[in-house]
Amino acid sequence: MNLILFTFIVLLGFTSYYFGRKKAYTIQSTKKRLTALPQFYGYYLAIWCAIPAFIIFSLWAIFEPTIVKLLVLSDYSNQGYLDDELNLIYEKTKALSRGQFTGEITPFIEASAEKYLSLRSIAQSSKAVIVLSIIIASVAYAYKRISSNSRTREPVEKFLNAVLFTASLAAILTTVGIVFSLIFQTIDFFKVIPLFDFVFGTHWYPAKAFVRDSSEALDPTMYSDTFGAVPIFAGTFFIAFIAMCVAIPIGLMSGIYLAEYASTKVRQYAKPLIEILAGIPTVVYGFFAALTVGPFLKELGTSMGLEVSAESALAAGGVMGIMIIPFISSLSDDVITSVPQSLRDGSYAMGATKSETIKRVVFPAALPGIVGSILLGVSRAIGETMIVVMASGLAANLTFNPLESTSTITAQIVVILIGDQAFGDPKTQAAFALGMSLFLVTLCLNIVALRVVKKYREKYE
């Protein structure tokens, strides 16, 4: 029903666009100069169609449920029901009207359900009637009003401005909302678990919190040795470190090769290939790490008489590094290519060779940008989830042995939130605290990285 109505309104919008333009053409054919291109007249009418429709739809969305509920429940007033009971009755009514009610059906509820249905259909049809008539009225009004010298361009531009503004506002508001929910949950978490224990505790064992019976009263002392985040922070940075040990040298060298040495032909094929690599979903890297690299390293270690865990930090970090290579290589390629050719010419003209020029002029000039790309790579490494969940352990060992398994912030958030969870539980809130820490770290990295990159950009402009 709504869909049909919506389609109809869209059609009306197109029609009014058409009529607006047509009227503009007609005016034009009488040799009068228009204040705007004919399209603007069309857009103008379409807006006169869209705005009333939008207003009425939102009014209905806001008020219809409340009013219908009031009317349905008016039958039950003065019968001494409590608010909660009334709500329950209403829920039952709605369920019955959808045919999903399973309990015992009383005549009362049956009557309400019927009333509910009829009210809904009245609401729907009145909405349709009102929307259509108002739209037609407003478009007709606008159509009559437009003339050779009416201002259509400004309202259209304003409307576009408003639409775009709303879209960015929505993006910003959701971000802000997420950040605030992180903050509040984190604060709640630190009401139970002291910040000191979280930041300096060396024992992370959230499973202990899983066994709590939620009917018991919350006893903070029982968590004293549960949420010490040091091992997982250490694990996060350790795995990221391994990843960067793989990604930085290979990524940088391939970036330099692409930018300075590769012929146009090689570059033409190599660059898209590397960018495809960047598009491989991280799960794929994850099972690559868990099924191929991990067991391979274990076997290799065993053959050399080393004890290697099948879920070693090395496997996870190494594969993560491979994932980040295209990122660093592509970014540093861009940065190096944007070093002005005149600098290279200056160096060659002094008799410098290619490698000297790269080492002494191009690389230093590109360094800020390269540092920026590395920092962005680090923040990806720290935020990466799938690979560590699949390939590194889930037990938070405090170790710096790459052959043992460790866990990371992201993997622990997954561990905590898989399965049953309740808001207000320290275990769930711990995930928010971890998320908050992660957010802060990557935020700082990104800010620094973007600053550095921007500074570099300004230098040559």
């Binding site: 003209a349 002094m350 008799g351």
Partner: protein, 251 residues
């Protein structure tokens, strides 16, 4: 004394020919100006002299260019040594994003010309003095070279070029980005430098060519139309195209 002797030089960018059959002798310790309308191949010719066209993949140079009677287009020519001997200053000042000191010491470092810090300090100081920049920058040698004014930057690039004591200095419109005062400074400098170096300068300014050069070559559409002493070219050219260009009737 003839320093550089170009014989039948053809240059191609891909399939397109940019220079036709250029033969030109350059006198030692004199200033030679190359003039001609935009796109006629002046820069291309200049870049042949220190093999800078090697940097451009599609560029192909044919013919002989003898410097001190040695053909630089020969396979046995070591480009690094060649460019040490033939310095270049570009149209747009292009100091490296390094300190002034590092800019000037760049060439000597690459060619291993200084054994000690003192020696390097000396090279930097004399180069900057010769480029008439020393007085202005002696207290800020360790600040970035990009922080100088355009004219100062160009003089820094000249200092960089002469730091390796080249025999020849190629200048491609060195004053086109500069104001009249900076231009006058550079012209004075060129006059000074020609005592020790052979200088070839590309310029769009007839007045500049007349002021600084002893010899002039006029290029048009890839051909060297006429060359000879500046006096002759400006006062009494053989070719009417040269006459027209110099008097500003086309170009």
């Amino acid at each position: 004394m003839i320093k550089i002797k170009a014989k039948d030089v053809d240059v191609f960018y891909g399939k397109k020919q940019a220079l036709y059959n250029i033969s030109l002798d350059i006198e030692e310790n004199q200033v030679t100006a190359l003039i001609g309308p935009s796109g006629c191949g002046k820069s291309t010719f200049l870049r042949c002299l220190n093999r800078m066209n090697d940097v451009i993949d599609i560029c192909n140079v044919k013919g002989e260019i003898l410097i001190n009677d040695f053909n630089i287009n020969d396979k046995s020519c070591d480009v690094v040594r060649l460019r040490e001997k033939i310095g270049m200053v570009f149209q747009k000042p292009n100091p490296f994003p390094k300190t002034l000191y590092e800019n000037v010491s760049y060439g000597p470092t690459i060619h291993g010309m200084a054994q000690s810090k003192q020696e390097m300090d000396e090279i930097v100081e004399t180069s900057l003095k010769k480029a008439a920049l020393w007085e202005e920058v002696k207290d800020r040698l360790h600040e970035p070279g990009t922080g100088l004014s355009g004219g100062q930057q160009q003089r820094l690039c000249i200092a960089r070029a002469i730091s390796v004591r080249p025999e020849v200095i190629l200048m491609d419109e060195p004053c086109s980005a500069l104001d009249p005062i900076a231009t006058a400074q550079i012209e004075e400098l060129i006059d000074e430098l020609k005592k020790e170096h052979t200088i070839i300068i590309v310029t769009h300014s007839m007045a500049q060519a007349a002021r600084v050069s002893q010899n002039t070559g006029f290029f048009h559409l890839g051909h060297l139309i006429e060359h000879g002493s500046t006096d002759k070219i400006f006062k009494n050219p053989d070719n009417t195209k040269t006459q027209d260009y110099i008097t500003g009737r086309f170009g």
